[in-house]
Amino acid sequence: MPAVQETVDRVKSVDVDAYKYGFVTDIESEKAPKGLNEDIVRYISDRKSEPAWMTQWRLDAYQRWLTMTEPKWARVDYPPIDFQDLYYYSAPKSMSGPQSLDEVDPEILKTYDKLGIPLREREALLGIPSSRVAVDAVFDSVSVATTFKAELAKSGVIFCPISEALQSHPDLVRQYLGTVVPVTDNFYATLNSAVFSDGSFVYIPPGVRCPMELSTYFRINERNTGQFERTLIIADKGSYVSYLEGCTAPMRDENQLHAAVVELIALDDAEIKYSTVQNWYPGDSDGKGGIYNFVTKRGDCRGARSKISWTQVETGSAITWKYPSCILRGDDSRGEFYSIAISNGKQQVDSGTKMLHLGKNTSSRIISKGISAGRSNNTYRGQVFAHRKAQNARNFTNCDSLLIGQQCGAHTIPYIESRNASAVFEHEATTSKISEDQLFYCMQRGLSGEEATALIVNGFVRDVLQQLPMEFAVEAQKLIAVSLEGSVG
């Protein structure tokens, strides 16, 4: 409850162009030459001293990518991207791969301090023990620090940059990489497969409940640089892990590309809870600048009775193109998708999920809350599919859209396909506006127009906020208020 008050305070304290993570860290970086060709792919692979099979994997992806075209079906509009005008690799010069925290450039540590991300374990330990979170910090193309690795290792949990995992656990990576999102999956996933630079790798051994929250914090700093991270999480039989990712970027006039791939694998009786608070720079109120967020996220409930749950709070990015999905392969497996997508200014969001029911008695649940303000467009696009062998598949979908103002749009595009007569799919959708009546009612009780809007919106998204780990729910609530700044009046 106090968080509502914080939300309100935050709304009042920020200026119109409210993006508070827009600063640039002044640091020398080492970049690959501009553009993309086989040499660049080899360069990236070289920088990471990758095994030969990995280099070949990337090159195959690159060759495949050359034959592909950008998808055009999403309800978003942007000028063509010149893929030769980007840098595909950028690393802080002081770094040559992961190392101990004492060696991390103080400028980078300061950056994460400013972002409120604790990288020093000693300081993090001073906090309340239950809120301890292990962090992998990715700065442009490389991971700069991973905390609590030693402690996690005691329970057999592997949490490290994927570039490091390729050295220390190459067999695990090779066994699972690309098995959920194949190299050939889609234009951006294929591009990512060719040039991905870093990201997190997580392996939870059988029967282990990961002793703390894991999180990755992505920061794009360098100009004209794409970020292509790759995350791979494997929950072995009977294990559990809760994982959170956060994202920010400096305010820049030009658009920047972020094309990530996330693969989750849950074996028998395992559970993965994946939460995202995405706050990439959204561009200014006229739509100048901002991140293009073209992301492929997919979870595979490979084992029986496994469970994967996606929770996302999407407030940033100029364009969001993102469909965290679940393949419900194991019998009795379960997929969940909880989403809050907020668009303001000229932001464009085309987001949703796919629930692919393959196994017997599989169930899924989709709760999507879209909020559009300003001149933005917000589309929910979701697919629910039952294979002919998916006996007793169950899905419940609820998509609610809330409009603030007169110039924004909300669209709901569900695709529902069942090839098994025993499947039961339910779909509910509503579109509403914050009514003048509600606003006046709240204002008559003493709330300002913006306080009233924040309160009503927080109520609208409550079922989803409740899915987030406690400390992130408070953060997310604040973020929502800031994102809607200037949407009233």
Binding site: V4, V8, Y441, S448, E451, L455, N458
Partner: protein, 249 residues
């Protein structure tokens, strides 16, 4: 305390209030009665400062201070409270959260410190008990799925907590059965005090059996066409509004 002088107001270019004058003194309960469409609800919205209700002439002041340039929330912080005819539902926001947000918003505007959480909870519980509101209602989203009577009771609860200088009750009796009406009226009566004024808007005399007014005003076609004591309400109950509607036309 509340002084309305020669008020003209319009909604969507249509003039609804046409030269209305009225004053309510501290400690007074003034009743406004009138037929449907006479401008009763419009008057309450104009005084409370609803967007889209434009004052074209005249003045409204509370304690000598003009309200016209104030936003609705500023008027609320000055001590103006409107109990709605149709209280709004706020999905996902628990009653407790809403009450706290409202109380603290007003305190902040007045430069007062926020209420501590234990004090707040105690205050709300005490007030809720008086009105026979069960604790679990406070944990439910405000007014969502509440019956008409429960919503009106919630309005009175808010009034008790916000302790206004002047409270306007807009058709608070509508949709209430007799038991609910009595509980609501008792709540209002408990708040009567020498330094608080009430403007009770109603179509029927019934409510005034429970909340005894000091003065009664008849509103017709956007103006006060007759003022008098409590006996005027009884006269209206007997004869209806016919005489006054004709007068105004």
């Amino acid at each position: 305390m509340l002084k309305i002088d020669n008020l003209h107001a319009r909604v969507d270019d249509k003039e609804i209030i046409k030269g209305l004058s009225l004053s309510v003194k501290a400690g007074e309960v003034a009743a406004i009665m009138g037929p449907n469409g006479s401008g009763k609800s419009t008057l309450s919205y104009v005084v409370a400062g609803r967007a889209g209700y434009e004052v074209t002439d005249g003045s409204i002041s509370l304690d000598g201070e003009s309200l016209l340039d104030m936003e609705a929330n500023e008027r609320a912080a000055k001590g103006l409270f409107l109990a709605f005819q149709y209280p709004l539902e706020i999905p996902g926001v628990t009653t407790m959260t809403f009450l706290k947000a409202a109380m603290n918003a007003q305190r902040k505007q007045r430069g007062e410190a926020e209420m501590s959480t234990p004090d707040f909870i105690k205050t709300v519980r005490t007030a809720a008990d008086k009105l026979g509101i069960k604790q679990d209602f406070l944990r439910r989203p405000l007014n969502v799925g509440f019956s008409g009577g429960e919503k009106k009771r919630m309005e009175v609860l808010q009034m008790m907590l916000l302790q206004p200088r002047l409270a306007i009750l807009d058709e608070t009796d509508s949709g209430l059965d007799i038991d609910a009406l009595r509980i609501v009226a008792e709540g209002v009566n408990a708040l009567r005090s020498p330094d608080r004024g009430f403007l009770v808007i109603t179509h029927y005399q019934r409510l005034l059996d429970y909340i005894k007014p000091d003065s009664v005003h008849v509103l017709s076609s956007g103006r006060i066409v007759k003022s008098g004591g409590p006996e005027l309400a009884h006269e209206l109950e007997r004869n209806g509004y016919r005489d006054y509607v004709a007068d105004a036309a």
